[in-house]
Symmetry: C2
Amino acid sequence: MAKKENQNIADSTEQKIFDAAHEVFVQKGMDGAKMQEIADRAGINKALLHYYYRSKDKLYEAVARAVIGRAAPMISQLIESDKPLEEKIRHFIEIYISIISKNPFIPLFIISEINKHPDHFFEKILPAELPKPQIFIRQVEEEIAAGRIRPVNPKHLVINIVSMCVFPFIAKPMARFALGLNSAELKIFLEERKVQVTEFVLASLRP
Amino acid sequence: MAKKENQNIADSTEQKIFDAAHEVFVQKGMDGAKMQEIADRAGINKALLHYYYRSKDKLYEAVARAVIGRAAPMISQLIESDKPLEEKIRHFIEIYISIISKNPFIPLFIISEINKHPDHFFEKILPAELPKPQIFIRQVEEEIAAGRIRPVNPKHLVINIVSMCVFPFIAKPMARFALGLNSAELKIFLEERKVQVTEFVLASLRP
DNA sequence: GAACAGTTTAACCAGTTGGTTAATTTTAGG
DNA sequence: CCTAAAATTAACCAACTGGTTAAACTGTTC
């Protein structure tokens, strides 16, 4: 057996390959990514890619599964908690935007690849426990029944909230152009959205 | 000169190529699109592509420019009209969602390609007169000053509205999955959004 | 009907891509 | 040390890609 002596898991060849592949796939998608570029960025020979991950598809699948598997639980944990509705919405928007800020390429990656290979994604890559908004939806219905919020269609409410959190990040360059912001101003603007979106939603829910 | 006798412009070889390229580029993006597939779908030889459009880049540019050039004026016309604010918002959401319903691949195409080649897009493809929301923003500020709507940051309002209109279409498969809808139900759901988003926005703007 | 420009094609080409091979180096264990 | 397994590499390959070429076809004009 061969194991490098002073080498933690993070520096292992397999991990280096995975990290490089993650970068390239997420930024360029399945088609745009080239095995040679992944090899170069990992600092190894192209043949080693196939030694650890048999094919481009397999490597892509590993990356895609990790991306989704990392994002999904955070959301479901939040959405399924038993906090009161207003607090839940506040927390959801805050955390959702924070996560995306730190991983700005992920949403577009997921959306693009789902649109190109929907079957593949839903069969092989998605974890069984994707966050389901049913609990959230029931909670909204209860609040409406109690007269504490304006009557709204809860499914549309969910989509509205997610849309306002995610879309500005995937449309960044367009937003910059349309609003006439430079890079620094855009960063501030996106950070502002945590409170702006929260206020917007809660204002709309007033009875 | 050689011109086919019974042949209108729509059936011309150049148009057939353009239409086929439009389909393929919009669905698969620059990288995913193959010249051979475009030729096949246009029912012609691959060399003819290069006869009419010298290179893949040129063909792509023609398609991209047409896509943007078609979408932008409709929006700006609407956003720059002098209707009262509420009516303008109603119209904007209604028309925006209608347009996207008929061209479901366009938004993701624009966003993906802008993210991959931002410079190229803003230098070569975008028409000078991209819809600028300044007039809309000023109008919102006036309404706030007059106390007719709740104080909101108008830039965030613009982004909120556009997000809620566009995002559900580009995240269609995910929305289907998360909300547990079949294809027909999703279509209804997206149509419902015209009134749902309008109500949601106007409710949030109540003073 | 010959000459001619515009159109279309089959065959081809060079570069790139994902993937393989066989040989070399490194590492662990007796 | 020596050996065998694991890790790594250089060289290679077949398929595909965007793009070219030269020849053939089509219609118009005189």
